[in-house]
């Protein structure tokens, strides 16, 4: 029997279809409540599961945030300590330098003071006095004479002698004054020396004052970090991002330098280790070149570490000074040797390249022209080969910044990622919940004739039924409330733990 015939309840197909629709609607109507419950439960399951997952992710995000903050503060504290320590070192160096010079300064000032005192004493000498008999002669010269020639002559003689004496006394006085002026004149450079010495002292003290002010400022920052204030966290976070990008940029530049370095030595290395062997998919000569560059980088790292410029290896930093100085010399010597080797390889590269070019020309049948050979490219390559290892040694500084800042930056990115995941989970939960609501509404829309009929037939009973349904949905109100306030619940649990 065909399926179409099975559906034909009556002879009239339209009537059969109508009967089937009515039966279907009736079936759907009776299945309405279980369907509502099933869909409602499913949407709640999705909603609650997603909300719980989101809450869990947010809790992880908070823990990570806390951990990031601790790491940030620890890094900031260490950095601030280093800066303050460095400032104290500078002050120490300055004080030692100035105090070392102090006995000398004191001696110089004492000498200058003694000299000044002597000069002053010399300049204070009184001018020579006139002879004692001058007033007597002066009294005699004032005696009135009666016109006696002999008396007159005698008095004239006395007057002349007196005038001579006056002249002599004035000259003597002038000479004495001039000598004193000369002494005072000699004092002038001594005063200047004193002035300069005192200025130096003033400058040194001013420098110390400046350093003290810097230390005060750094100590304020340190205090902020120690108290773990939000301001300090913001400052450190911003500083980490800046450090991350700047050090990343410098590392990229260094990477470019390493590539150039590699190209300088890869070809001549094939002359040393052979050009036909391979390690994995790479030529042995290329790997050997790379190993040399990596050894240079390692030596650079150790050198910077030994100089206490970086602190990537605490073991090296905490060595006693004698051992550290040895390590400085060893790493520097090895770096210098490697730089020399690279320089030689660069020279060899130039020769091989020239030979290859000549062979290419021969094979291509090009007539070899007399090329004006210049030593500049060769010398340039050799200089580059020598300098690049030392330049690469400084990679340790941006590397340290990059490593320390990337810890913070990655933490912040991970926090952002977790937030995004939590948001997506919440979104999925809400979409699931409202999709369930939508399906229920659509179900009701499809069977609206039965609902309408129920409204007409049952009337007031419907209202009661709706109330019951309302209560049915409210059954999970407590669960909903717990899920809605999941953050508080987690907090409460954490505080209990």
């Amino acid at each position: 029997m065909p399926f179409a015939n099975m559906l034909s309840i009556t002879a009239n197909p339209f009537l059969s279809m109508l009967v089937w629709i009515v039966l279907l609607l009736a079936a759907l109507y009776f299945a309405r409540k279980p369907f509502h419950r099933a869909v409602g439960s499913l949407s709640k399951i999705v909603h609650n599961a997603m909300r719980l997952s989101a809450a869990s992710v947010m809790a992880a995000e908070k823990r990570l945030l806390k951990r990031n903050r601790e790491v940030l503060m620890a890094a900031g504290r260490e950095h601030a300590e280093r800066i303050v320590e460095r400032e104290f070192d500078r002050i120490n160096a300055s004080v030692i330098r100035d105090l070392e010079g102090y006995p000398n300064l004191h001696r110089r000032l004492s000498e200058l003071t003694i000299k000044l005192d002597e000069d002053y004493s010399k300049s204070a000498d009184l001018p020579p006095e006139l002879p004692n008999w001058i007033p007597i002669i002066e009294s005699i010269a004032k005696i009135k004479h009666t016109g006696d020639t002999m008396v007159s002559n005698m008095l004239a003689e006395i007057n002349r002698t007196l005038a001579e004496q006056h002249k002599s006394a004035i000259e003597s006085h002038r000479a004495s004054g001039s000598a004193r002026h000369a002494i005072l004149n000699k004092m002038l450079p001594v005063w200047r020396k004193v002035q300069k010495t005192l200025n130096d002292v003033n400058k040194a003290i001013g420098n110390l004052n400046q350093r003290a002010q810097s230390i005060d400022r750094y100590m304020d920052d340190y205090e902020q970090i120690r108290m773990q204030t939000d301001k300090a966290a913001r400052m450190l976070s911003s500083s980490s991002f800046t450090q991350f990008f700047i050090s990343g940029l410098v590392l990229a530049i260094a990477f470019g330098g390493a590539i150039i370095n590699f190209n300088l030595i890869a070809l001549p290395m094939s002359e040393m280790v052979g050009g036909a062997s391979y390690i994995g998919p790479y030529k042995t000569s290329d790997v050997a070149g790379l190993v040399i560059i990596l050894i240079e980088l390692t030596m650079g790292l150790f050198l910077m570490e030994s100089l206490r410029i970086t602190r990537l290896f605490p073991v090296i930093g905490s060595m006693d000074d004698r051992m550290r100085y040895r390590m400085i010399w060893i790493t520097f010597t090895m770096l210098a040797i490697l730089a020399g080797v690279e320089s030689a390889l660069a020279f060899m590269r130039d020769r091989i390249a020239q030979d290859m070019e000549a062979l290419r020309q021969t094979l291509a049948g090009v007539e070899q022209t007399t090329v004006v050979t210049s030593a500049i490219p060769t010398v340039g390559q050799m200089i580059m080969g020598f300098i690049l290892p030392f330049a690469l040694a400084f990679v340790a500084i941006p590397l340290e910044s990059f490593v320390s800042s990337s810890r913070t930056v990655l933490g912040i990115c991970a926090t952002g990622g977790l937030r995004l995941v939590a948001f997506i989970l919440r979104l999925i939960g809400n979409i699931g919940y409202y999709t369930g609501r939508l399906v229920i509404t659509l179900y009701d829309l499809i069977i609206f004739p039965t609902i309408w009929l129920e409204g007409v037939v049952v009337g007031s009973r419907v209202k009661r039924k709706e109330r019951l349904e309302g209560n049915l949905y409210k059954e999970s109100a407590i669960t909903d409330e717990a899920v809605e306030n999941i953050d508080d619940t987690v907090k409460f649990k954490e505080s209990q733990e």
């Binding site: 190993v291 050894i295 094979l363």
Partner: protein
């Protein structure tokens, strides 16, 4: 210095735990047809050889042999070399090789018969002995084999792992009259090579010499 480098390499190898077992060296055996009028084409062979000398690297092997009446003989090898691992020595070897082949091409006398199969058999033997990683047999010929009486060449080729490349396969007068002859000749060689497990390729335009190594 070699020792330091060697130690560093050993360290790297032992750290990464990888070792290279693949033989990457190339072995190229070039057969030059010196029979009849084709001997006039040998100047083109020089440019092919120059190309090969330009692209082959330290560790690779190159041999040039002539195709004459009886080519299954070491005496037909004009020049052979395995390039040294050091580039500077390799360059000198290349210069010397080029000189030898140039002398040969300028003094060669054409042979009466063309024993291509014997040449291929000799090439297989030579390259297998060299243990090259990738083996190439270049046949610079019009592919028209003419064996002298008494020469038996009905041995199937063992060409597994070989790349056989026909170069400058010129059309003969008869080919021009009936192209099927030319096509049949080429197909016959292709069939024999592929039946022996080898890869067949043909390059007539010498501008496309880079296809010799790029397709494999």
């Amino acid at each position: 210095m070699k020792r330091i480098v060697g130690i560093a390499i050993v360290l790297v190898v032992s750290l990464t735990g990888c070792s290279d077992t693949e033989n990457r060296s190339k072995g190229v055996y070039m057969l030059l047809d010196t029979s009849g009028t084709y001997a006039l084409e040998l100047n083109k062979a020089q440019s092919i050889l120059n190309y090969l000398l330009g692209v082959l690297q330290p560790g690779d092997t190159l041999a040039v042999a002539r195709i004459d009446t009886g080519s299954f003989s070491e005496k037909d090898i004009v020049a052979k070399v395995t390039f040294d691992e050091r580039p500077s020595i390799t360059n000198n070897q290349k210069r010397s090789f080029q000189k030898t082949v140039n002398t040969f091409t300028s003094t060669v006398k054409s042979s009466k018969y063309t024993d291509i199969s014997g040449g291929i058999l000799q090439a297989i033997e030579f390259l297998n002995e060299q243990k090259s990683g990738r083996k190439y047999i270049l046949i610079f010929s019009d592919l028209k084999e003419e064996l002298a009486q008494g020469y038996v060449r009905d041995i199937p080729f063992q060409l597994a792992g070989f790349n056989v490349i026909a170069l400058n396969v010129t059309k003969l007068r008869a080919d021009n009259l009936d192209p099927k002859i030319y096509q049949g000749r080429v197909e016959q060689w292709r069939g024999e090579v592929e039946k022996g497990g080898g890869n067949w390729n043909m390059i007539n335009d010498l501008e496309n010499l880079d296809h010799i190594f790029s397709k494999t």
